[in-house]
């Protein structure tokens, strides 16, 4: 049984549709991410799950029970806020046990839980401090600990790491994932940071304009984007408009693109005669190999350490390549190849 089921959910504000017929399931103990640009409806969806908003239509089930109409305080969810939303007048300890107090948990059990949480989030030295006496990272941990303390059935993260610096963020990502696994929590994580989503999630749901564009494991999303939007939003991609000229054999097609004719190997058949295709910059191979050997002019070169970024002008388009080593400079010609199985059919536009 799914921990959370969302069935044909619609949310409208004054004629504007923020969530547009979304259906999804989250399994128990699963860590899923709602990924999308700002305004895509992911935060609205989070608020619908937590109960701060009531849907226009559709159903939300948590643990098999329909929760539409149940107020947030009665739902077994806990949110980790982007702003942390710590209670400024309460000490760290009071913040941590706030939810337990509301539930009327007996004192002994509360203390045991507090000890456990304090150990998890490493706040032992700060229990009597007020939130404004803590650093950003510590405040973040209080927010996490506060949400964990109530042992929610589902924990909801609303971009919890966006106020941390990059180093700390990576460290906390690992911590969150570890705690989630240790507690066996079902977690829904909202973010616009695709790297975060790829690194943390069991499954990613990509949202755009209120609709669910694609869902799947991070690798699946990355290597098999279904739409132009997903391909572009997750990782970087070179997207080309293609015209299918002929099916060469089982699973092999010949297409015409602005950078020239290409051969594609795909498990799924194209959905139309003309449609966008894409390829990932790091799949480019230096030199001329295979059917799709190309030559372009380097217009921009950026050394990134473990690889080098090249922007190449090819048939009037700019293609991005990531290569391990290259000796050419800007203005030089470069030869590269794309393997047919690295080219992906996307869904036709519109």
């Amino acid at each position: 049984m799914a921990a959370i089921s969302i069935i044909d959910l619609v949310m409208q504000f004054d004629g504007f549709t923020a969530v547009d017929h979304v259906s999804l399931d989250v399994g128990e103990g699963e860590f899923v991410t709602l990924l999308g640009p700002s305004g895509c409806g992911k935060t609205t969806l989070l608020n619908l799950i937590s109960g701060f908003l009531q849907p226009t239509s559709g159903r939300i089930e948590i643990g098999g029970k329909d929760v539409v109409g149940v107020p947030p305080e009665a739902r077994d969810t806990a949110i980790c806020f982007q702003s942390y939303a710590l209670f400024p007048h309460l000490s760290v300890q009071e913040n941590l046990i706030f939810g337990l107090r509301q539930k009327g948990t007996p004192r002994t059990q509360r203390n045991a839980r507090l000890e456990e949480i304090v150990g998890q989030v490493d706040l032992g030295a700060h229990l009597d401090k007020l939130p404004n006496q803590l650093s950003g990272g510590q405040q973040q941990r209080v927010a996490l600990g506060r949400a964990l303390a109530v042992r929610p059935f589902v924990i909801l993260f609303d971009e919890p790491l966006s106020n941390l610096d990059a180093k700390l963020r990576e460290q906390v990502r690992i911590e969150i994932r570890k705690i989630q696994r240790d507690f066996g929590l079902t977690a829904i994580y909202v973010t616009h940071d695709q790297a975060e989503a790829l690194a943390m999630s069991d499954r990613i749901f990509i949202m755009n304009n209120g609709r669910l564009e694609q869902s799947g494991a991070p690798e699946e999303i990355y290597y098999a984007p279904r739409t132009r939007f997903v391909a572009d939003f997750v990782g970087s991609a070179n997207i080309l408009d293609a015209e299918i000229t002929e099916e060469l054999s089982q699973g092999r097609w010949h297409v015409v693109t602005p950078i020239g004719p290409l051969e594609i190997q795909s498990k799924s058949a194209p959905r139309a005669k003309s449609l966008p295709i894409c390829w990932r910059p790091e799949t480019a191979i230096a030199g001329k190999e295979g059917p799709n050997a190309l030559t372009g002019t380097i217009t921009h070169r950026a050394f990134q350490g473990h690889f080098t970024d090249l922007i190449v002008d090819l048939g009037g388009t700019s293609q991005r390549l990531q290569v391990l080593r290259n000796a050419e400079g800007e203005g030089d010609k470069v030869d590269f190849s794309i393997m047919p199985h690295d080219l992906i059919f996307l869904e036709p536009d519109g």
Binding site: E73, I79, Y84, F87, P88, H89, Q93, G99
Partner: protein
């Protein structure tokens, strides 16, 4: 924050705090001195406890003290209790919220005495309220509603006049509480009352205290409402003081005046302390 040079501090404090101390200090000094027999307008001046002994022993004095305290405390608590839900309702602007807040603040700009007059007009023996209730059959005949013995009319007017002050102060305070904090509390299982009790009240406790004190002191020393719509079998302290003043008994008036000052101070401390204790509670 820094520690400034003493001369600079003195210079800064003089026009505000300095003038207050000089002005009020002189007034308090003369009032206290008069209650002990000095500064007599007629007759001899000199130290005596006579006026205190004579006044404090009176039942009228005890009655006026307890009655004024009752009016002061009930007005303050009721006004604040009524202002809180309104302030929370108006926390987020919505269509028509400005109109609502303007209407709610209207009493600030209607003179208390005009309001009392209009109120009296409505509740009088043949006033519209009586006629309405009689025609509905709720009352058998007109009833005397004005100057009721339980001071209900007076308290209604006190709250009507003072609630906007509390609303003004509390609106600012509750608007400063971030949405996320309230949502976090809700999300962690806090219902309406728990959110108010644990989050909203503690975070707006200074505004609450300020409202309580301002309203308490005003209602404690009320004269105009009491003499127009208050109960006729009670006297407020201001009324009692005025009664002495009317009879040129300045020393006894000063005794009541000094009592009023002391009670204002103690009552304010009491109310503020109670608010702090109840809503701030165990603070570690």
């Amino acid at each position: 924050m820094r520690q400034p040079a003493p001369w600079k501090l003195a210079l800064l404090l003089f026009p505000g705090l300095g003038l207050i101390l000089i002005f009020i200090g002189a007034v308090i000094y003369i009032a206290v001195a008069q209650s002990f027999g000095y500064y007599n307008l007629q007759g001899e001046s000199g130290w005596t406890l006579e006026f205190w002994e004579r006044t404090v022993g009176r039942r009228a004095y005890e009655r006026s003290v307890s009655y004024s305290l009752y009016v002061g405390i009930v007005s303050a608590v009721l006004s604040v209790a009524l202002a809180y839900p309104l302030a929370l309702w108006l926390r987020k602007p919505f269509k028509g919220s400005l109109t609502v807040s303007a209407i709610l603040k209207a009493p600030l700009l209607i003179h208390g005495i005009v309001a009392a007059f209009l109120f009296l007009n409505v509740i009088s023996y043949h006033g519209i309220l009586n006629q309405f209730l009689v025609s509905l059959g709720v009352f058998d005949g007109p009833r005397r509603l004005q100057n009721d013995d339980n001071a209900i009319g007076l308290l209604i007017m006190q709250v009507w006049k003072n609630m906007p002050i509390a609303l003004l102060l509390l609106t600012g305070a509750v608007q400063a509480i971030s949405d996320d904090v309230l949502r976090a509390a809700r999300d962690l299982g806090a219902g309406v009352w728990a959110r108010f009790r644990k989050i909203i009240a503690p975070l707006s406790v200074s505004a609450m205290q300020a409202s309580l004190i301002i309203i308490f002191i005003g209602a404690l020393a009320d004269f105009t409402f009491q003499t127009t719509i208050g109960p006729t079998n009670r006297q407020s302290m201001a009324q009692y003081m005025d009664w002495f003043k009317e009879r040129a008994r300045w020393n006894e008036a000063a005794v009541v005046g000094v009592t009023l000052m002391v009670l204002s101070l103690l009552g304010s401390i009491g109310l503020a302390g109670a608010a702090q204790l109840i809503f701030r509670g165990r603070r570690k």
